[in-house]
């Protein structure tokens, strides 16, 4: 199809809705800053997981993580790092898209941000001037002096998105959202919905998480959710392996510029791919455990495919949630077997978390960015540390070594605490079909 024809045609998807194109991608993880650094490491099968030195880990069962340690040379807290990660990913994505002008992005902002709260160093700062035993009345009296005013803005839930909105000049009221570990995917889904409604021609969708500190690690540890195989750190995350024993916390951000396909074509933008379908299902089963029958995950994938107007046979690759917890990986494998049937034995499904750890709030966005890189490069990043296959879940996990493959359609899964299940169907640019 020529450009002229493109410009004269109003493109609609199989449901008669605007087509949602991706015109910019940005990523920061423990593997580095930017698409190139991450892609090189991911396809080399390199892990970003290491021993934590951000805070003392004496006495902790888990002492490793995929922390991002190259952005600050001073102490910082979770909202600061989360904001920095988001800014860098957004800058890369918007730069690639060429949309708008610096500080003037003609679209809305949808941001997955970690729920943060005041951290120990700040509480200690308040407590320092209290005589005798510390209690919250004492902290309140110290707060009332207004000597610590910046802490208010620092620990508001809305401030990270507000600062990003200021920096890039996004339109309207920025959304800060959480659907636990599927948050990043939900941010993308909300951008898709806004463009389909015609509310906005473009959306900046970001998932960010820089919240590895002692208490966050300890909380997950107390839930027995984390791998305790600390040595060597890079071998701890082993999705789908028989000896998997929990996830490893990671940090990072993924940013996508979504744009009405016709809007992107009209300005001559390079189309990096399409967000073709989204599916989400709740799970009223349990607060941390998924329904053992995998029904919500199955329905989320089926809904996403139906939303995209595609069939399971159209999918070339599954970007797994693949956390490396015993329960998730089993449930996800079983759910995929129901959706994809006998094809699952040869349908590649790999987990980026084997190298990045679980970037939590950011994961859905980080992994969507990697999925589009997978489509663009025709190469599937492996599931590393796959040395002891779990016979109960026979899968092609693209073990240990990246694989060249023609990938046109990816399904990317994100499943979270609180019964949050989100699947995205991500496809190549239509002109390439």
């Amino acid at each position: 199809m020529s450009n002229t024809q493109h410009r004269n045609t109003q493109h609609r998807d199989s449901k008669g809705r605007p087509v949602v194109a991706v015109t910019g991608l940005g990523i920061v993880t423990s593997l580095g800053q930017g698409k190139d650094a991450n892609w090189e490491a991911l396809t080399a099968g390199r892990s970003g997981i290491h021993a934590i030195d951000r805070f003392p880990t004496q006495g902790l069962r888990t002492t490793i993580g995929g922390t991002v340690d190259f952005l600050f040379d001073r102490p910082f807290c979770a909202p600061e790092l989360s904001e920095k990660l988001a800014m860098l990913a957004a800058e890369e994505a918007i730069g690639q898209s060429g949309l708008g002008q610096p500080g003037d992005f003609p679209g809305e902002l949808f941001m997955a941000v970690p729920p943060v709260e005041m951290e120990w160093p700040q509480k200690q700062e308040l407590a320092a001037s209290i005589d005798g035993d510390v209690d919250y009345d004492g902290l309140l009296r110290e707060a009332a002096t207004l000597k610590h005013k910046p802490m208010h803005e620092m620990f508001l839930f809305g401030s990270v998105a507000d600062h990003v909105a200021d920096a890039f000049g996004t339109r309207g009221s920025p959304i800060s959202l959480s659907t636990a570990c599927s948050s990043g995917a939900t941010a993308i889904q909300m951008g898709v919905e806004a463009i389909r409604r015609g509310d906005t021609p473009a959306a900046l969708c970001i998932g960010t998480d820089g919240s590895i500190h002692a208490e966050a690690l300890i909380r997950f540890s107390l839930l027995s959710a984390l791998s305790t195989q600390n040595d060597p750190p890079e071998a701890a995350a082993k999705p789908f392996s028989k000896n998997r024993d929990g996830f490893v916390m990671g940090e990072g951000a993924g940013a996508l510029v979504l744009e009405d396909y016709d809007h992107a074509l009209a300005r001559g933008a390079a189309i990096l791919g399409i967000v073709a379908g989204c599916g989400e299902r709740g799970d009223g089963f349990h607060r941390t455990r998924s329904s053992p029958d995998g029904k919500p995950a199955i329905l989320a994938m089926q809904d996403a495919l139906a939303d995209a107007g595609l069939a399971p046979d159209d999918v070339d690759y599954i970007n797994a949630h693949g956390t490396s917890t015993p329960e998730n990986d089993k449930m996800e494998a079983m759910s995929c077997a129901v959706v994809f049937g006998e094809r699952m034995a040869r349908l590649p499904m790999s987990s980026n978390k084997s190298m990045l750890g679980h970037t939590l709030t950011a994961a859905g966005a980080v992994e969507a960015v990697i999925s589009f890189l997978t489509i663009a490069n025709g190469r599937i990043p492996p599931t590393i540390n796959y040395n002891t296959p779990d016979p109960a879940i026979a899968l092609d996990v693209v073990p240990n070594v990246a694989r060249d493959a023609t990938v046109r359609t990816v399904i990317s899964n994100s499943f979270g605490f609180g019964g949050q299940n989100t699947s995205l169907v991500l496809t190549a640019e239509p002109a390439r079909t």
Partner: protein, 375 residues
């Protein structure tokens, strides 16, 4: 496609009690606010009127796994589902999508205090903190704390298997939750949604966050728009959930319609002097001409500056009867706007007006407005 959106379920719980009638009576001017000036002195709060939790959360095990803000929200969500007549409708609940405006979990104040006291006396604070947190945090605490677990608990307790989303970001989360739910139904992306928020004011950790910025009123109660002596927020424990539905669907099932939700709009002004007033005037103006008997329900916080600007913006509706949500139930942060929309719907449902406008400027960022009509 733009379809009419109606409100078929209202769940309200606050210091005034629960349900549409108790709150409609307060709107009619016959109930005085309930304020506790002693428990959190010098900060007054509107305490939640105790709920019979078993009526909406039958399992004690569910009650135990939630914090007060979550129990309150699950309770109010149940009231909304009951009111809409869909509590036992499994098919509807499998389609029902949920948007919750939520804050975060409550600290264990005693544990925090003890650790902070101990930290001052140790040479090596890192290992001490690790040891105390490993020993003193309840493993399930984290779950009770996660922002999205109010939505998760609503799903578990009320058997909703549709998807949920949780918006964060203080007052504006409540505005955007109602705005997004409305937009999805109006555009045909959803048929029926449960939207709302919940806030527990009776906790010092949240008072601390607000007081760090100097946003709280100290001393006694004064009406939101008459706090010139000591401007500031008086927080209140409150929750509201609304069942929003396409008018076609509501009519087809013969549902009782409390009100029509015409428009919901949001903005983010730069917070320079006068910006909030101009922004709110713009949002109200975008709704078009209003009838003289319109009722204006304001979610104004009471914070210095922005509250005065919100009052000034409301003078663009000179004949409107003006009610501050904060005067009835206190300021409920994420829940403030949903509570205010619920109050407006209750007033319309009770025949107190034919048209309502809701406004709210967040204490730090964000402005919103909604326009409702008698069904």
């Amino acid at each position: 496609m733009q379809r009419d959106v109606v409100i078929t379920g209202i769940g309200l719980a606050s210091s005034l009690g629960e349900g549409i009638e108790a709150h409609a009576a307060a709107l009619a001017g016959s109930i005085v606010p309930v304020v506790d000036t002693a428990s959190f002195a010098p900060y007054p709060v509107h305490p939640l009127k105790p709920l019979e939790l078993d009526r909406q959360i039958p399992k004690k095990s569910d009650q135990r796994q939630m914090e007060p803000w979550q129990r309150l929200g699950v309770y109010a969500a149940g009231l909304a589902l009951d009111g809409a007549g869909i509590k036992d409708d499994g098919e509807t609940k499998s389609l029902l999508q949920v948007i919750v405006a939520a804050g975060g979990g409550e600290r264990d104040h005693a544990v925090d205090g003890a650790i902070l006291t101990g930290l001052r006396g140790v040479n090596d604070p890192g290992p001490f903190l690790n040891e105390r947190l490993m020993g003193d945090l309840r493993p399930t605490l984290f779950l009770a704390q996660l922002s999205n677990l109010l939505a998760g608990n609503i799903g578990i307790v009320h058997g909703i298997t549709g998807a949920s989303r949780t918006f964060m970001g203080e007052e504006q989360a409540g505005v955007d939750a109602v705005r997004t739910a409305h937009a999805r139904i109006a555009s045909g992306q959803a048929e029926i949604m449960l939207v709302g928020g919940s806030y527990n004011a009776e906790r010092r950790d949240m008072l601390l966050l607000l007081e760090l910025g100097g946003y709280l009123r100290k001393g006694d109660f004064a009406p939101v728009f008459a706090r010139e002596d000591a401007p500031g927020i008086i927080t209140g424990s409150a929750s509201a959930f609304l069942v929003l539905e396409s008018a076609e669907r509501a009519a087809a099932r013969g549902a009782l319609i409390h009100a029509r939700l015409g428009r919901v709009a949001a903005a983010r002004s730069k917070r320079t002097p006068g910006a909030v007033e101009a922004t709110l005037r713009g949002l109200i103006g975008s709704f078009g001409p209003m009838s003289p008997d319109v009722i204006a329900i304001s979610a104004a916080t009471g914070a210095a500056g922005v509250t005065t600007e919100e009052a000034a913006a409301l003078t663009s509706l000179p004949q409107a009867r003006r009610i501050a949500t904060g005067d009835l139930v206190g300021h409920a942060l994420e829940a403030a706007f949903p509570v205010s929309v619920a109050l407006a719907a209750a007033a319309l449902s009770a025949g107190q007006a034919n048209e309502a406008v809701v406004t709210g400027a967040g204490h730090w960022r964000g402005e919103g407005a909604a326009h409702l009509f008698k069904a």
